[in-house]
Amino acid sequence: MFSPVRNPPAVLRWSVVPTDSVPEAFEPVADTPSQLDRTSAPATGSVLQPMAIQALYVLSGDDAEARGWLAFLRRHGYPNLSDLVIERVYWLEGTVDTERLMPLVANPLYQTAATQSQLDAARGPILEIAYQPAVTDPETPSLLAAAHALGQTGLRFARLSKRYQFAGLDEEQARKLVARFLCNRVVERLREPGEVVSTLRPFGTPDPSTTIPLAGLSDRELILLSTARSWYAPLSQLKAIQAHELAIGRPHTDAEIEILVQSWSDHCYHTTWKRLGLLKRLSAATAKIAHPLVVSAFKDNAGGMEFYEDWVVTIKGETHNFPSSIAPFGGVATKHGGVIRDTLGFGKGAYPIGGTTVMGTAHPRLPEEQSPPGALPPQLIVSESVRATSYYCNPMGIPMMHALYRAHPGYVKCFALGHSIGLVPRKYALKDAPEAGDLALLIGGETGRDGIHGATASSTRMTGNTSAKESAAVQIGHPITERSFTTAIPVLRDANCIRAITDLGAGGISSAVGEMGAGVGAELDLDAVPLKDRSLTAWEILLSESQERMLIVVPPDKLAEAEDTLDRYEVKHRVIGRFTGRRRLEATWRGHKVVDLEMDFLWGGCPLDPISTSEPRRPLQPLRLPALRTAAEWSTAVRRVLSHYHACDQSAAGARFDTTVQGRTVVGPYGGKNHRMPTNIYVSAPLHGKSYGVVTTLALNPFYGDIDPARMGKLMMIEAITKAVVAGVDYRQMVLCDNFYTARLRPEVAWDLTRMVDTIAEFSEAMGVPFISGKDSSSGTFEAEGRAIDVPPTLAVAVLGRVPDVKKVVTKEFRRAGNKILAIGPLSGEALGGSLYADSYGQRGDRLFEPGSPEQVRQVWDALLKLHAEAGYVSGSAIAEGGILLRLFEASYGSGLGARVDLTEAAGHGPASTPDRILFGEFIGTAMVEVPAGGDVESILDGVPHRVLGEVRPDAQLSLAGHPGLIWEESTAALAEAWSRPFREVLE
């Protein structure tokens, strides 16, 4: 077991020089002029003396990152790439003994460090990628801290770069590859050989702040200006700003207009939903239900539900569709970062205890050349999104609850959804209003160029050119920063240092301070904002969507305590302003007042254009599915479903996400014998040592949206709730979270949206299960070569429920041979419309399953709960995509048992009454349960539709009986092969 080592190390001793100072990870970003920028006079501060710059080059004998990229790039258009080597370069500025840093940058057991490059130039072109000079490397603070600990206090700054050597490619191919996959030019650049710099420290000069008079501009000129400046504001808003200019008697500054258009963007202001009255409709339904468990609905960064023992659990779902479409790694990573901050920004700070990831793309099997121009290949989006979720969520230490990957031809602009659930003491579940004199404390990362115009760009349409033009809208995520304040925030909260807290997401500082200070007013000192990019001008500082930042409203007498706590947890912080009592948003920068807006205009001045609605025509066709006659035809049909992208084994992705961190997980996303069976449920016991449980489920079905968006909405609610009910969660002990994704607004989309919201609001009221949080994205349209590709009307419904005892939760896998398998709920009517089975033939159908009246649906839930309370069933699952078949297979696979079913009775006796309709039908609201042989359930199920489907068998076989004889029989092992391959291939 002892492996040979290429370079046996000499005895390595860390050089230890005692220093009592703990170094500031960062040099204070003083107003340091550039050493390269000798022509411009420094604004303030003194010119730094140039310092020596040295470099250490590190090669790794075991480089998984290089291996991973090599395999990836060979699949993505570079089969000739024969080898890829990554040399990491540490650039060091100051007085440094590089020998002493070698043990830090390299573990000699598998890495070698040298002061010269160790690459042999003859082996292929070498390209070096470094961060932009104006940008700070995320690893710099760690490197400085460790170097100082080693006594190298003469090290003033450091940068990292990577040299990639591409064997088998020529220079031009290598450059193209780097531009496409490896170099994110928002923050990175190619470092050309022989480049000489006199300092490594971030430098750059900001543009001055200007005024932009709109007076006298025609409508056309306004639109042109709006596009040129990437405001993407509708004309009505531009005219409102133009009129405001006359009213205040001065032109607006660039910062003011930027703030107004992004605050009024669909992303921030939900303009579309407000125009249609939809936000009011949903929150009115919730208000009408007046559910006793609802603590906070639709008014905070997340919704809150009463848990047990004076705790509140929270939920929020957030989409990040636009950035994830153009830069999936950064987009998806920051999707998670953002929705986690919504939890941290709930009340006075909730602690995140679970998360989800949902990725809807075009089908990953779509050949790369068939992607519309300007759209990334879907397989790339999926594999990059998996990498990003792993990159972000694992370091955050938040367990993955559900990971769903879905495909629909309309998801060219992809659907990137993530949820976060949290836990907060009841007494900290509601924010206090900031008071005049309170301080605005910015914590976390520094402010950079990343994410500028994210709010407006994501609210507009996406075209083939968008990815080139708006790539600056994509943020870069650094989970270590967010992890640190995730630990610190509950400490601050419990010490009463937080009056209110919110995250910095879309719209950045201006949005966070503007919203928090809406009632009282705030003034900002933009020079106090710590910058990672020295060239940011005032409006960019205000709008930057740099990740991993939060804003805390701190009472002045608590500031010192708050700062001390943040120091202990190594969270950077800076007071950037205070709340005033003047009801204005004000900001100064470099001695000038650059923003002075009335809060009333900022939050009340946005005109809402009327929208007309018109019923869309859907080209729906009745299903024409072939009759299944032979066992071979049945076998093929079964495989069509099990290997469908939505039904197949997605654990190849899921196993890259931590599901058990925090020690709260009771039932994770995968379970059963070999931990690969999807459970469709997540159960957490959030209070260590207690049995109380939080339960989440998720429902999403883009195919249903193609047929009947309104009914799809209702079915998603029923599906998500039934998944939880069959596990034993009372529907009166749960709340819902909605996430809509629809095409860019036009009358037909407005019609669908209105009908969807009306339907779910009505159903929510009828069932008494309230929505408490939600988010809408109304920009799901991709344009390429004059063709618009719309996303299907999409609604994801998440359940957040509670149970008094997690040990009573029932899961899916079969328990015992000989037990009866029952369907509880209707198995009648058409249930193949929108099904996976129909999709496998390229068909949708013309109608969706009719789940019955609210009373009928509730009757099934009540029966399930009664049966559950009497331990009447030992396993169970809700029927959803893939129908009864998928449940039978998964319950068998997860247990090592099998099932023998007979569907002829259920199918009835008419000419169209065939078992495939039952086996593949998606009877939403119906559950499949396993009842002990001899157990009497009839008395409880009296009057409730139910039917015996068959029984659990001891061998791992699935069989379908008919009259006479056997229709089809197969081993679950053979089926598992078909089930587990498709997704694995996507990631390979």
Binding site: G68, N107, E570, H688
Partner: protein
């Protein structure tokens, strides 16, 4: 309940401190979270504690190599405290990233702070692996595994860099391997994913020569409470409490 208090070390990026505390409490022990910055600034001291755990997470974002920055801080900035702690023979546990820290600091396998003779490399699959694993206890004489020899313990494993590489050091015995990844029959296995990272010899955990310092890639604290799918991990913490009594 023992009066001894176990320190749970917290550094930026640590994320398994809470459940580690919960596991120690369930085993009948007491623990306190000790913030690295407080140790460096003299506001806290390891001398107050009878045992210590370096829990899992991504300390300092895994920058420069998993565990390396925190290891540097321990060895360089807290050298005296660390040596005193080690010399006193107090029990020390590193789980997952904590194991990586112990290895990068040279504390495992040979108690040579600042001198490494082992590495934990990236998983063979080259990505993070979240798995439920079985661990065969192959050394029942350490403080942590007393009475567990031959048992197969089930617990979660979740890491991206856990494949051990050892460097033979003259005059030193091979490291004491306490845990090996096992298959369903309980035998050490090279097979993925039962052996989630491709560990040679299926090595999942080792101790120092005295058996008081344990480094373990899988997470015993996540299999320690009645609500967990397995409670095998609590056995390690019970052994710790027995030793502290």
């Amino acid at each position: 309940m023992s009066r001894a208090v176990t320190a749970i070390l917290y550094a930026p990026g640590t994320n398994c401190h809470e459940e580690t505390a919960a596991a120690i409490e369930r085993a009948g022990g007491r623990s306190e979270m000790v913030v690295l910055r407080d140790l460096c600034g003299g506001r806290a001291s390891l001398r107050r504690y009878q045992a210590a755990v370096i829990p899992g997470g991504f300390s300092y974002g895994d920058h420069l190599g998993a565990g390396r920055i925190l290891a540097t801080m321990l060895v360089a900035r807290l050298r005296d405290e660390l040596i005193a702690f080690l010399d006193s023979g107090k029990p020390l546990l590193g789980v997952c990233n904590g194991f990586q820290v112990l290895v990068e600091a040279g504390i495992l396998p040979y108690r040579t702070p600042g001198s490494r003779s082992m590495a934990l490399l990236e998983n063979q699959s080259s990505h993070f692996e979240d798995r439920k694993v079985r661990l065969l206890v192959t050394d029942g004489d350490s403080l942590w595994t007393r009475g567990l020899a031959g048992q197969v313990l089930e617990m979660p494993s979740a890491h991206g860099e856990g494949r051990p590489l050892f460097y033979a050091v003259d005059g030193r015995p091979p490291p004491r391997v306490t845990f090996r990844y096992a298959d369903a029959a309980g035998n050490p296995t090279p097979e993925y994913p039962e052996n989630p990272n491709g560990a040679p010899g299926a090595v999942a955990g080792i101790t120092d020569e005295t058996g008081t310092i344990l480094g373990l890639m899988p997470h015993p604290e996540r299999a320690a409470l009645p609500v967990h799918y397995s409670q095998d991990g609590i056995k390690l913490f019970r052994n710790l409490m027995a030793a502290l009594r």
